[in-house]
Amino acid sequence: MTTDVVTAAEPAAAPQVAGLSLRQLAWRRLKRDKAAMFAMWLLIFIFGTAILAPLITNLLGVNPYDFDLTVLDPSQGSLPAGAWGGISLEHPLGVEPLTGRDLLARLLFGARVSLLIAISAVAIIAIVGTTIGIVAGYKGGWIDTLIGRLTDLILAFPLILMLIALSPVLTQRLQAMGMSPEDSRVVYLIIVFAFFGWPYLARLIRGQVLSLREREFVEAAVASGAPTRRILFREVLPNLWAPIIVYVTISIPTIIASEAALSYLGVGIIEPTPSWGKMLADSVRYFAVVPTYLFIPGTALFIVVYAFNIFGDAVRDALDPRTGRNAR
């Protein structure tokens, strides 16, 4: 599919400069944006640490699950011993009150969970949303009406409330299928984010396809007797990658933040899986005495979402330079 994208994107290309493809042009513009490049490297760094988390924690001799009561101060109700939430050489970000688990390890493993959920959900959204959007836009007629009504219905659901309300339903179903409680939460989050995310992309894609299907190259493919499936996925799809990429990059931070919010509320990730949202929820009980416990996961969450937002903005500008710094 990637090779198709490069070759077939040409007919749709904006003004061609020295025979560059749309993708090369976009990359050039993106490279010139310093903030975007900084955000990109930051994201690569974050992904790197998340992927290498087991290695890093092994090197530091910590892990996210082991309780360690020796770093707590029993005379203070098991708060971390020492200043700044127990920050020391062994525990660079301090330890968790009550359990003594290493915060750096929990932060790194929490990032893995967050990113896993966001990336999986977005992948499903991209595939489902694009397919349905293309079919609705190209076929038109009753299929389009049906899909239109269906997306209307899904968009009428109060989103966060539904995510919360569905959590017992889905997690219990998944556990009945033999999944462990903590894994069922991860899968549930992926499913609900994907389920409530695809209609937006489908609408966007449908709108694009409506105008694409009137274009000459599609007409030519139809006239030469190409099968519909080929037209949809070889002729139409390659012209849609710009909106898909933009949608995906701006969806990831939203999902990361929503996951943290759900875990904060107690309906997302559960123990013993580390999660930034849950860390923040736990920090509430201690934040008058151990403020670092609030700041560390909160700042991490902010940085990731911020970096994704800057990068997403820049990607959109690069792919569609007419809009400039734009609203979503």
Partner: protein, 329 residues
Amino acid sequence: MTAYVIRRILIGLMILVLLSMAVFLLFDLLPADPAALTCGKNCTPEIIEINRVRLGLDLPLWQQYIEFVKGLFAGRTYGSGTAAFTCAAPCLGYSFRKGEEVTPLILEALPVTIYLAVGAFVVWITAGVLLGIFAALRRGRWQEKVTLGGALVGYSFPSFFIGLLLLFFVVIRWRLLPYPSYVPPTEDPVRFLQTMILPWITLALVFAAFYIRLTRNQMLETLSEDYIRTARSKGLPERTVIGKHGLRAGLTPIVTAAGLDLAGLLGGAIIVESVFSLPGLGRLAITSVLDSDLSIIVATVLVAGSFIVIANIVVDLLYAVIDPRVRLT
């Protein structure tokens, strides 16, 4: 126009019916037996069966749905004989967990959420639109960069983190405000304001960012239109050009977004209500989920969904009022 309004309302009603059916269907998938959730530790199979019949949970799903709809419009009676009790219309169900009807619980929580949502709405619309216009008028200068940069920062802060930070600094560190605990404004207006100000700011910070960006883009787009040039060349004062001609045409997407965001919040600002322990719809929803109190969950989802559907209709109708170019057919 009238035909359009009627059709729009009918579609809205249809979506509400579908929404309620979908909610019923979804919760029927729950493997847990709702009747078994109606009594606590000293549950016996007999009590469960009695409750099942009393609540009508022994009926097939479609009949349960019809009973629910009937209850909504005409009220319904649970059980029969001496154990019977009536739930007056609009009856949204009965919570065995709490031993109360659901409608009064919702009505009790609703004002809190309305105060929260409307208060925050006023702050973020004012700030968002004004700053957005400001950014558009200072295009390409440092003021624009700072405003938009700040907006992106605000946009990236998860609402519960902002809320917790405000609580930490304003209440705990600097002791500028007492710890939030909700009282109705009729009882103690000062305490009410002291409690609500941080939640309002939190929500406003999260939402304003989006409106700054939206307003700026709309303004830039409309300010390059021909009729703006005409207005300027007529010698109209800049204030009139911006306020009357520019803003009005660019207002449509702002109104759409504002209407839908407000409706979403009226269904329960779950996160902010949780952070500041406000007893609104969102908190009611989250506590019922954690208690597996199905009847309340269904009711809150329906109430929130109704707000969204109504907002969609209102927003569509407002289009015609704001933008004279829009003709509804």
